[in-house]
Each structure stands twice: as C-alpha cells, then as structure tokens.
Subunit: 215 residues, 2 copies
Amino acid sequence: MSRLGKRAAKSVRPVRDAAATQQQILDAAEQEFAHHGLKGARMSAIAQVAQVTSATLHYYFENKENLYKAVLQRPVDEVQEILAQHDFDALSPEEALKQIIRIAISNEAANPQRQMLWFQESSQNQGAYFKECNVLTLHEYLLKVLERGMKDGSFRPLKPFLTLTYILSICLFYFTVHENWRHLTPEIDRLSPEMIEEHTKEAIAFIWAAIQQRD
Amino acid sequence: MSRLGKRAAKSVRPVRDAAATQQQILDAAEQEFAHHGLKGARMSAIAQVAQVTSATLHYYFENKENLYKAVLQRPVDEVQEILAQHDFDALSPEEALKQIIRIAISNEAANPQRQMLWFQESSQNQGAYFKECNVLTLHEYLLKVLERGMKDGSFRPLKPFLTLTYILSICLFYFTVHENWRHLTPEIDRLSPEMIEEHTKEAIAFIWAAIQQRD
DNA sequence: GTCTATAATACGATAGAC
DNA sequence: GTCTATCGTATTATAGAC
C-alpha cells in the first residue's frame, strides 16, 4: 500500500489535525469519566478509545485533572447555547415548562451517559468543580418559569427548589438507571427513539398533573 | 500505659471479633465504593477507615471484587427485611403508596450515599451484579400498588413502569445531587431532619397530585 | 485473626526521537 | 503533533511471623 493510500484510509481523522484530535480525546474522556469518575478513569483507556497514545493526552491537557475539567465544561457550554436560542418569557408558563422538559430529555437522550458525569462529580468530588463550571443555567430558567406560573395562577403553590428537583429528577433519572433496569425488562430498549418519545410524553403529563392549579 | 489500659481504649471494637471486624469493613467499603465505584475505590482507603490493614481485607473477602459484591448485597437484604414487615395489601392504594414513599426516602436519608452504589454499578458495570442481588423487591411492591390503584379507580390510567421510575426518581434523586446542589444554596443542609421531612411531605403531595384520578 | 514486609503489576507522567 | 521508551510511584495481593 502506498503512503497515499494509507493516508486516505486514515481520513476519518486526518493526521496532525489538532482540533480533531482534541475533540476525539474529549469524546473518549467523557465516556471514560462518566463510567468511572475521576479516580476510576484510566488515561490508557481514554487514549485507546481516542486512538492516540497517552503521551498525546498529556500534550493537549497536561494531566488527568485538567482533562477532567475540560470534559465537565463542554456539556455546560452546549446546554447554554441551546437555551440561549429560546425565549421562554414569550411563552405561557405551561408551554415554557413543557419546552424545558423536552429540551432536558432530548439533551440527555443524545448523551445518555452525561448525567453520570455530574453524579460522579457530586459523590466523589463533593461537587468541587461543579460550581466552577457555571452549570446553573437550566436551573435558573426553570425556576423563573415556576415562579411565573405560580404568580399568574396556572401552577398551584409549590416549594420552588424542591419542585425544580422533582422535575429534573423525572427527566434525568430515567437515563441514569437504564443499564440496571435493563435487567428487569430485557426486551425493552430504553434508548430507542420510540421509548424516548413515550418517556417525554408521559413525563410531561405526570409533571403537568402534579403542578397545575385546579378549580 | 498498661496492656489492660490499651485494651480498654480499643473497646469500641474488641480485638479479634470476626463479626464486628467484618461489619466495620463493610461500612468502610460501602462509603468508598459509593464515592468512587469499583475501579476508583482504593483498598488502602477502605482499610484505613475500617481501622485494619489491607491484609485483613483480603483475609475476609479474598479480593476487591468479592468485597464489592458483598457491599452491594447488604442494602438489598436490609430493604427486603423492612418491606417484609409491612402488609401493603391491607392498606388502600393511596395509603400504601404513601407508605412506600416514606420508606424509600427515610431509607435513603439513613444512608444518603447508598444510591450512588447502584448508579456506579449501572454505569461502570452495566448492572452486571445488579441482577445477582435480587434487588427487585421495592419495584415489585410499588408496581403491585400502582396496578391495584388503577384497577379500583383511585389512580388515573398510567404506564406502570414509567410511573414507577418517576416515583422512585423523585424520592432518590434528591440525595444523589445534594453534594452538587449544595453549591447552589450553601445555606441549606439538605440532609437535616427538617429538610428531609419537608422533602417527604412535598414528594407525597407532588406524586399524589400527579397520579390521582379526578372527576 | 491480625500484622509486617514484600512481590508483582498498573498507572500517570515525562524525555527525546521523528 | 505524535510516537516509543521509560521512570517513579501507587496499588492489589500474598507470604509468613505472631
């Protein structure tokens, strides 16, 4: 095989493309850190999945901890960008709430392992880097909608912060436990588009029934 | 100090008490595995907290993996024992549901790190040991209550398995994120008895509003 | 039943060639 | 920008004394 042929075969990740390599490392690291946390993650495992050597990891991110922080930061930036594209104030509290639920679920569905990043961070790091990441955006949008809905009478009186917790737990817990619960109902693929759609519909119905004001 | 004095000082764990040592190891291991998962946990850290040497760990549990399995099994057995003391069929679906919520929350409150054990198991082990542990008990009781409530018309028509997921997520997610969310509201101690009581009341109200049948 | 000492390996990180 | 080779240490596990 000629050198040209070899290069063509590698075209999925061109040699010496810094940006591409960095993305590939972040993708691999996100998986590994989500699965095993900071301590449990293995640099060698990340290197293998990213198809680079561990020396390359250190070249881009210096050490394990910096790589971990970079991995945590990425989803925060992505969510912020998505939320910035919406104007929830222009919607009724009911519609805004349903929009946020759809965003939260579809975002997790696209990255079903991402929530574990934050659980790992919470339990093994006591959330030390959580604050640094300025992760509050989704919480703030949701809080504002809840308060608006209570004010205009479309939601019943609620403890805002507990209700916020419950809404997010309904959306996200589903993805956190799916590997365990797969063993309860092996015939169901909880990550299939159909099941995600059912989850979305049912979650909206559940939450709306829980918080709406009735006569 | 005399040998007698030394022995008295150690009286919290008498020397050469196999049962006590084993419990102490399991307690320490539960903490460590919940915080760091199977790979991330350090045998030396467990040994230090349990106040034994790592050789003692191997004496009782042979290796890391066996210790991990023993740690997973213990909470399952405890929950099964608690549930066996109740006769949910004797209660109305509404009352039975509220009882189960109270049990789930108070159980997590007593061991706020325990849920992370299962999340770790789900994400890093794909729930490989989850099935072995026969952990289904709580799920089964709850499913039965949901189906009974739908049948007698006290609950609205629900997807049983999704609703089960939502109810447990509301009860448990609260504990999983408390270390992270502590940074959002540093003045609140989410594990204080008062906050747990508020969580319990609010969770029951939320869930009941979500699933009750109305005219 | 518990310890000390140590073997054997796994892991993070760096140096230097290309 | 990426690799190979390697250093130093951390970690699991075992052997053998008490």
